[in-house]
């Protein structure tokens, strides 16, 4: 199978950058191989669609706004009252699977996996770097692990997901529109310059 080429391929310089200090403030990693689909439904079919999805994905669907539901490597983002996004490994074949499971009378499925570039940001200075791009209160009391927000970075739509804590430092995924991804990634790097950062290959 032909390889998916990232929007950052050939441009993101791997290695250590920014100010010299003990340990990088943040680590950037391009997250490949993730699929993303949007499921949208009609005003009277929401519960039915959610039931189908819960069964198909084996996910207990969260009712909490701005919180994801997860099962294994599948993550469900309730992005709008009548829409949610589902991220999973490409091998799951989300689009085909859900298109069969959901008749158009209940809802529709749109493939978005190639439309987003997912950049994982981790390290002790993650929140400081993100605060330079996102107008979102990332304090753990307000935005705990499992939170996500549809927001904007440099006036371009972007989604931010607080994945978990790892080794005492937060791990975030930033979903960027593919065509803006390189430009916005360069902006993230510039914002990380003062903290020192590593771009992992």
């Amino acid at each position: 199978m032909v390889e998916v080429i990232s929007a950052l391929a050939g441009h993101a310089r791997t290695g250590r950058h920014g100010v010299e200090r003990k340990g990088a403030g943040v680590i950037f990693r391009d997250v490949p191989g993730r699929d993303l689909v949007q499921v949208a439904w009609w005003p009277d079919t929401g519960p039915a669609v959610r039931a189908v999805l819960a069964k198909q994905l084996d996910v207990a669907m969260s009712d909490t706004p701005r919180r994801v539901s997860e099962s294994g490597q599948t993550t469900v983002f309730p992005v709008a009252p009548d829409k949610l996004w589902i991220a999973a490994p490409m091998a799951v074949g989300l689009h085909a699977k859900l298109s069969i499971a959901l008749p158009v009378a209940q809802g529709v499925v749109t493939e978005l996996g190639h439309s987003r570039t997912v950049i994982r940001i981790s390290g002790p200075s993650t929140r400081e770097v993100l605060a330079r791009s996102f107008a979102i209160d990332l304090h753990p009391s307000v935005f705990p692990p499992g939170s996500f927000a549809s927001s904007s970075m440099h006036h371009i739509g972007a989604m931010l997901h607080y994945v978990r804590d790892l080794g005492g430092a937060p791990v975030f995924d930033v979903y960027l529109l593919r065509t803006f991804a390189l430009s916005l990634f360069e902006g993230l790097c510039e914002n990380a310059d003062g903290f020192g950062y590593t771009v992992e290959g």
Binding site: V2, A40, T110, L112, H114, R132, L177, S183, G187
Partner: protein, 1000 residues
């Protein structure tokens, strides 16, 4: 190198062990760590620091803070040069470079001081009156001369090498000001567990308490509170941070001067940081500014606010004068007299009040001469103050009488009371209200999330500030949802001294007695606005406070009314015979305190000024030596030059070869919208002017959509992929607008339709393959699609695979050639391009860019951005026959208004030059041949190109009469350049009008 002859050997809050070298106007001096530039200059006996805005009068240091009106300097050099910095706010560092402003050839001898001799000609509004004649355009000649003569510092023209950054921050409670009220507020809020941010614009916390002698009870109190605050993990303390604006929704603008106190920022450190802080609640404890009193020549270097004199002594151990006159109308300023006297200065207090009361007696006991019922009428000396004239004074009328006498001195410290800093409150709407008892404006109704505490509310006593601040902090935290208890904060007995405000009597003016010629009494020292200017404005009818400000330039630039506003209002009130609150006050706009534009821009500069948008083929295009062109945010392939080719040679070659073999162009920038749902066909039928319900699965159709007002919004093709699934494309330019339009319709006009629209522009990469060999190439590359005309006709859509790559193939043409658009998931775009290039070799495939794309479509008369510019109707585009008469659609009602369908409107035509060597330029106005040329003429040229197929320049345009003008000769004119090109009006389809090539 000068010595610090005015520096005391003890006291102050400085570090004498760290000597710092700096220069002012090229001369070397030394200061110590903890100095400001102003304190270091004063320590060295430098009192003349600048020249005034208009009259070029010598000016000195007036204050010790952000309100400094005259001690403005230019710091640093090269790209780091920063003009108009108050010397009082510039922290000293090793190697600091500062220069005075607005003086030539030198500060001591400024040629333009001659302006002072023609003062009557330079009164308020002088340039409106004096420089308008004698000719109509005289001002154009005068303006550059006046601009050079007047003004402040000059901005750097070189690139600033430093970084600036912008950051978002959040707090439950924002506390503005780190004085006693602010510290107490932050402590109370912090103890409750609320997330608190305390912002203080000076480097140290303590506010006005830092003006007290070092080492006493105030320092102990500050230390204990700050230590507790620093120990609270939920409290962020930002020093060197100015809160310059209050905005909607609890949003505040802050600028942190991260590295301004260093010769250059550390590695990775920004010079300044712009913080957009969103707060649940805010306690404003911004303090107050001492008010001057206008008297003759009150701008002479050596005239200083009394609080500033005390600050220089107690913060910086600098004695600003040795023989000092202190002119006051209140008790509070006596503290300055006491401290200066204790420091060894000879001090005389001129108290404007009839009776100085107990404080005057206390002064007398300390061998300080107190002269009550008098005023300083004027200063004398050149350029520095060498003495004053004082006279008996009626504080109620401002009139001096019964002669005068002179008194030698080298410093005049003046205190006319205090003005609360109400700007952050007024920025949110509520007007400040006049407090007659304190003779000052105080905040009115507390706006939205704000509360005020301390001196900015008119409470000048330290103990009151602490108590108010603590209560306000606790209340704000509670409102923000904190549940902890703030406990108590005891006010030490030593901080309960009277503030003297009860003994305050306002003094708005000092009118000289008979026998003394009236001198300029400045109200706004920065902008050279005096009492006489306000009188002149009043005489000429500028009685509203807003007009007064603009006519006289009062409160402009960095001054912003800090020292001048209330005095000017009082002058106008007196002239109009009304009370001050009846005159009103101007609101304070942000930024009240100057902030650099670099900080506001932050990191959004250069390539980050706006984001760059790249197609999925971008890297591959780079590898093909593509030259890109900016189209909105997109980087689009412009042309692919071969050796020695410029854009003109390249696109002509590309255009020719597309028509001869086959070309490939990146069309990923087209807007792409996924339309799905049981009502999708109905939705499209309502959006487009033409019918959509009959479109078969596997077919595409060209569509035009209108705005509500009937003008053409956009065009594009939409393909039916399955029963309820459509793939809609838009033009590159209108993609976002169309998406927004469709969402708006579904959410507001037709919520009953079961349709979802989703932008998939980023999901799909696409190329167009155009030319006689296009079909053969694709048939080679895609094995699971039958490309025969019978099974895959024009406007057909098929899905298949190019190797492993899933593709959607649409048989469409924008070039008039046999052509296909091929889309694949964006991550496979490079692989697809490689695939096509490899298969293309045997079919003579070339790459072409948007320049050739434009030439091909203009030859065919296809419309694009130049024609769909929001001003044209279907009739203008000669596409009215597309509009269905059998159904309503967006814009269907308003598009048939008589003015929209009138034959007088310019209609789309093709244009060819009569002289085939002539070039038609974009934007040319179309006029009757040989005139007369009138106004907008017959129409305009919308798109132009050189046509390789026709061998000459061609154009599309709009001409009144449209098709009926075909065959006529008209003139295309370019008035700015004087160009006139005779053109023939022809049909828009200038190449292959029968469309034979389209079908291969």
């Amino acid at each position: 190198m000068s010595t610090q002859s005015f520096r005391h050997t003890s006291g102050g809050r400085i570090d004498r062990t760290q000597t710092l070298r700096f220069t002012f106007d090229g001369k070397a001096y030394t200061g110590v760590a903890g100095d400001t530039l102003a304190s270091a200059l004063l320590a060295n006996g430098v009192k003349l620091v600048g020249r005034s805005f208009k009259y070029h009068r010598p000016r000195g240091i007036v204050s010790a803070g952000v309100e400094e009106p005259t001690g403005l300097v230019t710091l640093r050099s090269g790209g780091r040069r920063e003009p108009n910095v108050p010397a009082t706010m510039a922290e000293l560092y090793e190697g600091l470079e500062a220069r005075s402003q607005n003086a030539w050839p030198s500060l001591a001898f400024d040629m333009l001081a001659v302006n002072g001799l023609v003062k009557p000609l330079l009164a308020a509004g002088f340039y409106y009156k004096t420089f308008m004649g004698p000719f109509q355009k005289s001002w154009m000649w005068y303006e550059p001369v006046i601009r050079r003569a007047a003004g402040l510092g000059v901005a750097a023209s070189e690139r600033d090498p430093d970084r600036y950054e912008k950051i978002n921050a959040f707090a439950d409670v924002l506390v503005v000001g780190g004085g006693p009220a602010g510290l107490a507020a932050a402590l109370a809020a912090g103890r409750t567990g609320a997330r608190v941010t305390l912002a203080e614009q000076m480097p140290s916390l303590g506010g006005a308490l830092l003006n007290e002698p070092a080492g006493g009870a105030p320092d102990n109190w500050i230390s204990s509170v700050v230590a507790e605050l620093r120990a609270l993990p939920n409290v962020i303390i930002l020093t060197r941070t100015t809160v310059f604006g209050a905005y909607d929704g609890g949003t505040f603008g802050l600028v942190e001067r991260v590295a301004d106190h260093k010769i250059e920022p550390d590695a990775g450190e920004p010079r300044q940081r712009y913080i957009v802080l969103r707060a649940g609640q805010a306690v404003i404890a911004a303090g107050a500014i001492e008010r001057p009193i206008p008297f003759g020549n009150n701008d002479r270097p050596g005239v200083m606010l009394a609080s500033a004199a005390r600050a220089y002594l107690n913060r910086f151990a600098v004695l600003p004068g040795r023989k000092i006159v202190l002119f006051t109308n209140n008790d509070g300023a006596y503290a300055t007299a006491f401290d200066l006297k204790a420091a060894g200065a000879a001090v005389t207090v001129i108290d404007a009040r009839v009776d100085g009361g107990a404080i005057a007696s206390q002064a007398a006991q300390q061998a300080i001469e107190v002269i009550v019922g008098h005023a300083v009428v004027e200063t004398h000396g050149s350029p520095l103050v060498q003495g004053v004239a004082l006279s008996p004074y009626d504080i109620a009328t401002g009139q001096c009488d019964n002669g005068f006498r002179r008194l030698a001195c080298d410093l005049v410290a003046v205190s006319g009371g205090y003005d609360p800093q109400v700007h952050l409150a007024t920025q949110r709407g509520p007007k400040a209200v006049w407090d007659a008892k304190r003779a000052c404006f105080v905040p009115g109704v507390a706006p939205d999330i704000q509360s005020q505490a301390g001196a900015c509310k008119g409470s000048f006593a330290t103990a009151d500030c602490i108590r108010e601040g603590f209560a306000a902090g606790a209340a704000a935290a509670q409102k923000a949802g904190a549940t902890g208890k703030p406990g108590e904060l005891r006010v030490p007995d030593a901080l309960t001294a009277n503030d003297g405000s009860a003994t305050f009597v306002p003094a708005w003016d000092v009118i000289p007695p008979k026998g003394l010629r009236e001198k300029k009494r400045f109200i706004d020292l920065q902008n050279d606005v005096s009492v006489s200017d306000v009188k002149l404005a009043h005489l000429e009818g500028y009685v509203s406070v807003e007009h007064l400000k603009r006519y006289t330039t009062l409160g402009m630039a960095t001054e912003q009314g800090k020292l001048s506003n209330v005095i000017a209002l009082a002058q106008m009130a007196k002239l109009r015979g009304i009370d001050i609150p009846q005159v009103g006050t101007t609101g304070f706009r942000s930024p009240y305190t100057s902030v650099s534009l670099a900080a506001i821009a932050g990191h959004e500069t250069d390539m980050h000024l706006r984001p760059v948008r790249r197609t999925p083929f971008h890297r591959w295009n780079e590898q093909q030596a593509c030259v890109f062109i900016d189209a909105g945010l997109w980087k689009r392939p412009w042309f692919y030059p071969r050796s020695g080719e410029d854009v003109n040679l390249a696109y002509r070659r590309e255009t020719r070869q597309v028509r001869e073999t086959v070309g490939m162009v990146d069309v990923s920038t087209l807007g792409k919208i996924d339309v799905q749902g049981p009502d999708a066909a109905e939705f499209l039928n309502r959006v487009y002017v033409n019918g959509w319900k009959s479109l078969e699965v596997g077919k595409a159709r060209y569509g035009l959509m209108l705005r509500d007002d009937g003008y053409v919004l956009d065009d594009g093709t939409t393909s039916r992929l399955s029963e309820h699934h459509y793939f809609l494309t838009t033009t590159t330019a209108e993609a976002a607008k169309v998406m927004s339009h469709l969402e708006w319709l579904l959410q507001t006009a037709w919520p009953d339709l079961r349709v979802h629209v989703t932008s998939v522009t980023d999901q799909w990469g696409g190329v167009a393959l155009a030319g006689p060999n296009a079909k053969k190439l694709l048939a080679d590359a895609i094995k699971d699609i039958d490309f025969s005309n019978e099974t895959f006709p024009y406007m057909g859509v098929r899905q298949g695979h190019m190797g492993d790559i899933p593709v959607r193939v649409h048989r469409l043409s924008f070039s008039g050639e046999l052509a296909y658009e091929v889309f694949c998931p964006a991550g496979f775009a490079e692989a697809m391009a490689e695939f096509l290039r490899d298969f293309g070799k045997r079919h003579s495939l070339i790459l072409y860019g948007v320049e050739a794309l434009g030439a091909l479509r203009i030859e065919k008369g296809h419309i694009a951005g130049g024609e769909i510019d929001g001003r044209h109707t279907l009739e203008d585009l000669r596409m009215e026959k597309m509009a269905s008469k059998a159904k309503p659609y967006v814009g269907s009602v308003l598009r048939i208004r008589p003015e929209m369908t009138s034959d007088d409107r310019p209609r789309l035509v093709g244009l060819k030059p009569v002289d085939k060597a002539a070039r038609i330029k974009p934007g040319m106005i179309l006029q009757p041949h040989n005139g007369p040329y009138k106004g907008h003429g017959l129409g305009h040229v919308s798109s132009t190109t050189y046509s390789p197929a026709l061998g000459h320049s061609i154009a599309l345009g709009f001409v009144i009469g449209g098709a009926s003008m075909e065959g006529r000769i008209i003139d295309a004119v370019y008035p700015l350049k004087g160009d006139i090109v005779m053109v023939e009006v022809v049909p828009p389809h200038m190449f292959d009008p029968e469309g034979d090539r389209l079908h291969g």
